[in-house]
């Protein structure tokens, strides 16, 4: 472990590579002049977001000075998001966002990709140097923590935060904030709660109030949480995160109209967020408020144009809106566009489901049935992966509605096997059976599916307990293949692999297998305490700290798409 970072680093800014992105030539010259006065020799310039992206793709810059307002095309925030998501900037790089006035984005709370600092014009050399030094120092303090975070070794990362706090009083609050985030990731809401309370003793930071309220909300104290979110909003009208959370709190209480109101306000305050417009659109659709849904999905498609957060959900939502307006032709055009632009099995499948729903809603039962048959055929194809649970439920509902029987039963049993101990979800599955007038059969089907899963798991546990680890590993591979999304089976599988490694010492193949299983389970159900514990055990077995986990994680993401995070 490297030494704890102290507050006395002197940095040579002369040898760094700089990129200035600003649409105004006068400002570019001025910034270049200032950087030269700091000794900088390697300075590139871009006059637009697009040009900036091209340069970012070619060179790994140490410092990027980017104007927020870039005229037409991408704005500074979108350039930053794309550069981060496409991995065009190193974790050590400094990103300074330059703006003409105090930016609302800086206080919104949960902007997903925050720059390292905001600077307000006019920029003087002194301020520039102070900010550069400050960000650099902070990056030093957080380097190991960020690495452990990226490796998903959350427990170690949280301990590192604790070690840094006493020696870095200036960053104590940031370190505590990170610690709480890590504890939540590691499935330790009680620990995170204590940290938020400790911070709030100090001062009423809005992020800590929101953090605490989120925990209360998940613990079922929804009304208290709602009041806290409202207090944050009363205090800071731009704290968008509080709006988004408040909407969720209302939704949990079944107050959909209130949730809708809050979402509308949030979208008005900060309209350029793809996920927010999507949630607004989907909520409006549920409430049958077609004009708002239409506006939200349209906006979502528009802003997605320049954003890496572009989502296919907006196209599906818009197609539903067209269906409600009896414009089947436009709906089908949108679905084709979605398949064309996004591609992939899941998108094709979901497009087909949406198509069926649109036909069904517009009363075209013949075409709806045809969509259903096509879906059934798609599902029957060899080796095709089942979509996520929500999509499976939608699909089963639709298939029953158009009169298909075998395929939806298969889907629902699949859900039951993969979630055999998730009681609320089982209730939902039963309701779909009831609606299809298959109540009694449903009870029996769910029972046998759950038993099947439990039997598979028990057999593995038995082999493990009787110390036949080799056989247990083989059996769990079979179980995983049959039930690829069953959390209990996945966790047990990883646990057995780790027990084996503890006996035999580190074996690369087995470790990679365990990591792959864990990454998968973290993707479908983030924030499980067992995930954090198993990752920590694995990290302790690895000969080189972190590296193995990082490699496996990136392999997993390359194969399966980014793990939903943060």
């Amino acid at each position: 472990m490297t030494a704890i970072v102290k507050n006395d680093g002197e940095i040579d800014w002369g040898e760094k590579r700089y990129l200035i992105i600003d649409d105004f030539v006068g400002i570019r010259q001025l910034l270049r002049e200032s950087l030269r006065n700091l000794g900088a020799k390697h300075i590139d310039q871009a006059a637009s977001g697009g040009e900036g992206m091209m340069l970012l793709a070619k060179t790994r810059y140490d410092v990027v000075l980017c104007d927020y307002n870039l005229g037409d095309g991408k704005n500074g925030q979108q350039v930053l998001e794309e550069a981060r998501i496409r991995n065009l900037i190193l974790p050590s790089s400094v990103w300074l966002m330059v703006s003409a006035e105090k930016s609302v984005e800086s206080v919104m709370g949960a902007a997903e990709h925050q720059p390292d600092a905001y600077i307000i014009k006019p920029i003087t050399e002194g301020v520039l140097l102070t900010r550069l030094n400050r960000v650099w120092l902070k990056k030093q303090i957080f380097r190991e923590i960020d690495q452990a975070y990226a490796d998903k070794d959350y427990l170690r990362a949280a301990r590192l935060c604790e070690e840094q706090i006493p020696v870095n009083p200036l960053h104590a609050i940031d370190l505590l904030r990170m610690k709480a985030t890590l504890q939540l990731k590691a499935g330790d809401p009680l620990g995170a709660r204590a940290v938020y309370r400790q911070v709030l003793e100090e001062r009423d930071y809005n992020w800590a109030r929101c953090g605490l309220a989120k925990i209360l909300m998940h613990d079922g104290e929804v009304e208290d949480a709602q009041k806290m979110f409202q207090a944050v909003i009363a205090d800071n009208r731009f704290y968008i995160d509080a709006f988004d959370q408040l909407a969720q709190a209302f939704q949990l209480q079944g107050k959909h109209e209130e949730a809708f109101d809050v979402l509308q306000k949030a979208a008005k305050l900060s309209p350029n967020s793809v996920p927010r417009q999507r949630t607004l659109g989907q909520t409006a659709l549920k409430l049958e408020n077609i004009p708002v849904a239409e506006k939200a999905f349209r906006k979502c498609i528009d802003i997605g144009e320049y954003s890496v957060a572009k989502t296919v959900d907006a196209y599906f939502g818009m197609a539903r809106v067209c269906g409600k307006k009896n414009d089947t032709k436009e709906a089908i055009r949108l679905l084709n566009a979605a398949v064309h632009q996004f591609g992939g099995d899941q998108v094709t499948l979901r497009a087909k489901i949406t198509e069926g729903l649109v036909y069904h809603e517009t009363g075209d039962l013949r075409r709806a049935r045809k969509s259903g048959d096509e879906l059934e055929a798609m599902l029957a194809e060899e080796g095709r992966q089942r979509p996520d649970t929500a999509t499976c439920l939608d699909m089963a509902t639709l298939l029953f509605a158009v009169g298909v029987k075998e395929a939806p039963v298969g889907l629902l049993c699949y859900i039951a096997r993969n979630n055999h101990d998730n009681v609320p979800l089982m209730d939902e599955v039963q309701k779909i059976f009831d609606k299809a007038r298959m109540g009694d059969e449903g009870v029996e089907l769910i029972r046998s599916s759950r038993k099947e899963a439990a039997d598979m798991m028990n057999k593995g546990v038995l082999l493990w307990k009787s110390d036949r680890l080799g056989e247990a590993i083989d059996w769990m591979r079979v179980a995983r293949h049959a039930l690829p999304h069953n959390m209990r089976i996945l966790f047990n599988s990883a646990q057995i692999l780790i027990s084996r490694l503890q006996q035999t010492g580190y074996v690369r193949e087995l470790a990679d297998e365990a990591i792959e299983v864990l990454m998968h389970v973290d993707a479908i159900a983030p924030g499980q305490p067992r995930f954090a514990q198993l990752m920590e055990q694995l990290a302790m077995l690895a000969p080189v700290s972190g590296v193995v986990a990082a490699a496996a994680a990136s392999e997993y993401e390359a194969a399966n798409g980014a793990v939903p995070d943060r």
Partner: protein, 261 residues
């Protein structure tokens, strides 16, 4: 909370976009103007002795006073540009309702040393060009929670203001006083006129918007209003920040004081 949420956004979105892009343009122009002037001043002969000294050292007043008229004029231009920038910052803050929940207020922990360094850095060349010495006095390890951009704005404005009143010296001092942070900008001029002292006293007592200071008397009313609102936004356990104007202090001239909880 719902009704005044939209109050701020009553104008048409097109108008708001237009205002935002105009502000953006103005800031760009002022940036280029003051940046160019600073570079010119640094390169002009009269500034040579001072520019050669380390950044933290006080400027040599003699250099500016004996300098060429061109140097003096550049200094005057920079001073006016900075005043323009101050006013723009304050007008913007007023437009965005500084002091109200709609303002993007962002208090975080900061090092007092970095605060002083940044204020000093912004004022350095202007002070040099006017032959004014700025000394600082602060506890280097102190940490306090405040909105950095706003507090820098208040202090830089106070220094620009002191440039007008001082003879040749300004002191910026920051100290922790019990449960407050006290920031003082003091000069060795003749002090504030009585009307200003009254306005300063009124700024903390009257809450009603616009009534806190008499905007009609002069432009310094805007600066005072801005500073008092910034101070008041900083609150902790029911205690709010405040400002004060006094005469006397360690240099015997005007003192501008901000206290933050």
């Amino acid at each position: 909370m719902d009704d005044d949420l939209s109050q701020h956004y009553q104008g048409s979105p097109e108008l708001l976009m237009f205002l935002a892009s105009t502000v953006h343009d103005m800031k760009n122009s002022i940036s280029v103007l003051s940046g160019t002037l600073e570079h010119l001043l640094a390169a002009t002969p009269a500034a040579a002795p001072a520019a050669a000294a380390p950044a933290a050292a006080p400027a040599a007043p003699a250099a500016a006073q004996s300098g060429e008229p061109q140097y003096q004029q550049l200094g005057q231009m920079l001073y006016q540009t900075r005043r323009l920038n101050d006013s723009l910052i304050q007008l913007l803050a007023l437009y965005k309702e500084v002091g109200k929940p709609g303002y993007p207020f962002d208090p975080t922990p900061h090092s007092v040393r970095e605060l002083v360094e940044q204020v000093q850095g912004q004022a350095r060349i202007l002070l040099q060009s006017r032959g004014i010495t700025l000394t600082t006095d602060f506890a280097p390890d102190a940490i306090w929670t405040f909105d950095e951009e706003l507090v820098i704005g208040v202090l830089v404005h106070a220094i620009n203001n002191a440039i007008r009143y001082t003879r040749d010296r300004i002191v910026l001092s920051v100290r922790v006083d019990g449960d407050h942070l006290e920031l003082r900008v003091e000069d060795n001029g003749d002090g504030f006129p009585p009307a200003m002292l009254d306005a300063g006293a009124a700024a903390n007592t009257t809450r009603a918007r616009g009534a806190a200071v008499n905007f009609s008397n002069n432009s310094s009313g805007l600066g005072l209003y801005f500073s008092s609102e910034v101070a008041r936004m900083h609150s902790h356990r029911q205690r709010h920040g405040s400002i004060a104007l006094e005469n006397g202090g360690q240099l015997g001239g005007g003192c501008f004081i901000v206290r933050l909880p």
